[in-house]
Amino acid sequence: MSTTVLPPADTSEPRPSAFAEHSPLRRLLSWEGAITALLIFAVLVASFGVEGFADSFNLANAQLDIVEIAILSLTLTLLVVIGEIDLSIASNLGMCSALMGVLWNGGLSIETIIPITILVGALAGALNGFLVTFVGLPSLAVTIGTLALYRGLAYVLLGDKAVADFPVSYTTWPSKTLGSLPIPYPTVLVIVLAIVVGVILHATPVGRSLYAIGSNKEAARFAGIRVKRITFWLFVASGAFAGLAAIIYTLRFSSARADNANGLELTVVAAVLLGGVSIFGGRGTLPGVLVAVLLVGVLRNALILDDVESETLMLVTGGLLIISVLAPNAVTWGRERWRLRRLAQKAASTS
């Protein structure tokens, strides 16, 4: 990665909008361009350097390994863009998974369990949304709280037991592929959801208002954007997506457990930030996040296939996270220094 990599529109000069710049060169130099290049580089290295990587069996499995991360990252992107965060997503997933086990043991049909699970996930999201928007608590504090709460409820529901006797016709669904292509069904679902969320974020007035909220909440409110309403419903959507991810996770492993997806929220946050979404809100694109999710998946898969130890694996994920948070700030800091020096020089020459 070169040092000229810039996050989108991270400029100290006032500009109307990051999206006014569509020149190919700018795009190449953008954060999204840089991590896309990194992804292509990683795929090339893995294809030629790691035996068995570019095999359809492996590629299909590698996609399945990031399905839940991808689903959760879609709504988390929207939340981070408006300057909020949801750390309870993986706990919500665990709770929904435990619930599926309880409902299945209770004799309900899978067809009934699926909508109920999504509904309960959405309700858990609504609680987050309520506490953030109507009670006015910071989302970081609220969702750290519900992270513990939902995981606790998961254990209340199912204890340390596992429910595993889901019907085979459903548990084999996630690993089925589109014909002979190495594309499992859940990937198709992710693509459809990504298009919907991507269109909302990048091609609708609602999407533009999300950036406005993230840039300046007060200004957005005065501009007539219903900040609270939008925030609330984004948390609901985040919860519903956690419920959906729980269904795929549970059926994929044929195992409903309270500890399912333990700690996954950190990987999702890492992917969203690595994708170029600013943790302070107002900045970032969905394609960037999706590329980052793929990059995380490719790195994990290739490293494991190459017998790299799991500690190194954590080091790589952690390293990427630190880079993704540090790099944009470092660039901003550097530019600011440069601008100040220019100003000082100008002042010196004019006096």
């Binding site: 004799g107 009934t112 548990t171 195992s255 799991s310």
Partner: protein, 356 residues
């Protein structure tokens, strides 16, 4: 505003309606669920005279890497793989959650391993990946913690519940001269393992009319709780002669209490523990003998089972026999289970030979 609120209400109502409609329609339920997972049938026949192949790639996949117990077990596996001139490796996740092993199973399959020795974090979560592995010719042997039958060719079982339960009573009987009040300090009241062992203990106690079981206490596999329960037992029964604790957490906590109390050396303690936890209590005389299986032998046997499967000596069917190096000959039991053997008893003389 009113209109929007109405829209939200309508949306919620629609969602609930869809849910209820789906609920009414019925569909696939637990009761109607007839299809059960079936693994690839082993159509090959066993040739007990086939030589062990050289250069077999055998991979160990513990519940968690860097866990001392599995490090010892996997080292045992490595020793076996070296003996039959194979390629050994150990891979695994750093956390022991249900799904964390699946990615590793997939990559081991992709790498074309001949055999995988796996201790399953979740009996079912690993099955789809293991089934794929077996379809691609990988032999799968579980050890320590079994996977559902569809996912593996054989299971190396560390201990027979009956042998564990009975020998613990025998160890204590020897230590207290077959006379006096005894208690059991278990994990949780609903721990399946422990309860099975306790049933066999009660049955074995019938052979010792001088010994009287006064209480089964539960320490919930929590160090503090187990410590307090031990204290409580000795206050309630000052003439207690011995305690059996069939849990590694319980026995260590009980030993810690006894070693600093006036009961040290007067109340016998035995059960299941690891040598590293119990070393100091054996050396200071609090505990004479306790037992557990030897994880190194467990890994060793697992590697030989995987090699015998890969070489076609066995298919995993009941009654087949194979040789496991220095451990001698083993016979496959019901459901592909291979029993390691009697538990290992640790005392002051041999405890320093073990490190786990």
């Amino acid at each position: 505003m009113l209109l929007r609120a109405r829209r939200a209400t309508a949306l919620s109502a629609a969602l609930v309606a869809v849910t209820l409609a789906a609920a009414a329609c019925g569909g696939t339920t637990k009761d109607s669920n007839e299809d059960t997972a079936a693994g690839p049938a082993s159509s090959a026949s066993a040739n007990p005279d086939a030589p062990l192949k050289e250069g077999l790639k055998i991979a160990f996949l513990p519940k968690q890497v860097n866990n001392p117990y599995f490090t010892v077990a996997d080292k045992g596996g490595e020793k076996a793989v070296k003996e039959f001139k194979g390629e050994y490796k150990e891979v695994g996740p750093s956390d022991a959650s249900a799904s964390s092993q699946v990615q590793y199973i997939n990559t081991l399959t992709q790498q074309g391993q001949d055999g995988i020795c796996v201790s399953a974090n979740d009996a079912n979560a690993v099955v789809p990946a293991l089934t794929q592995a077996r379809q691609r010719g990988v032999k799968v042997v579980t050890f320590d913690s079994d996977a559902a039958k569809a996912g593996r060719d054989a299971f190396v079982n560390q201990a027979d519940p009956e042998a564990l339960g009975r020998t613990e009573v025998q160890l204590l009987a020897k230590q207290i001269g077959e006379k006096g009040k005894i208690a059991i300090l278990s994990a949780t009241p609903n721990a399946t393992n422990q309860n099975a062992w306790i049933e066999f203990m009660k049955d074995e106690l019938k052979k010792y009319p001088g010994m009287q079981l006064v209480k089964v206490a539960y320490g919930n596999d929590d160090d503090q709780k187990s410590f307090q329960e031990t204290q409580g037992l000795l206050q309630a029964y000052p003439d207690l002669k011995g305690i059996i604790s069939p849990t590694t957490v319980g026995i260590a906590a009980a030993a810690r209490y006894l070693s600093s109390s006036p009961y040290k050396g007067k109340v016998a303690l035995t059960g299941l523990g690891t040598p590293n936890q119990m070393r100091q209590y054996v050396k200071d005389g609090t505990v004479k003998e306790f037992e557990l299986w030897d994880p190194a032998k467990l890994g060793y046997l697992c590697a030989y089972a995987a090699a015998a499967l890969s070489s076609g000596q066995i298919t995993g069917a009941e009654g087949e026999k194979f040789k496991a190096g220095e451990l001698g000959e083993y016979t496959i039991g019901k459901d592909g289970a291979i029993l390691l053997g009697p538990p290992q008893v640790f005392d002051a003389k041999n405890i320093d030979q073990f490190n786990f």
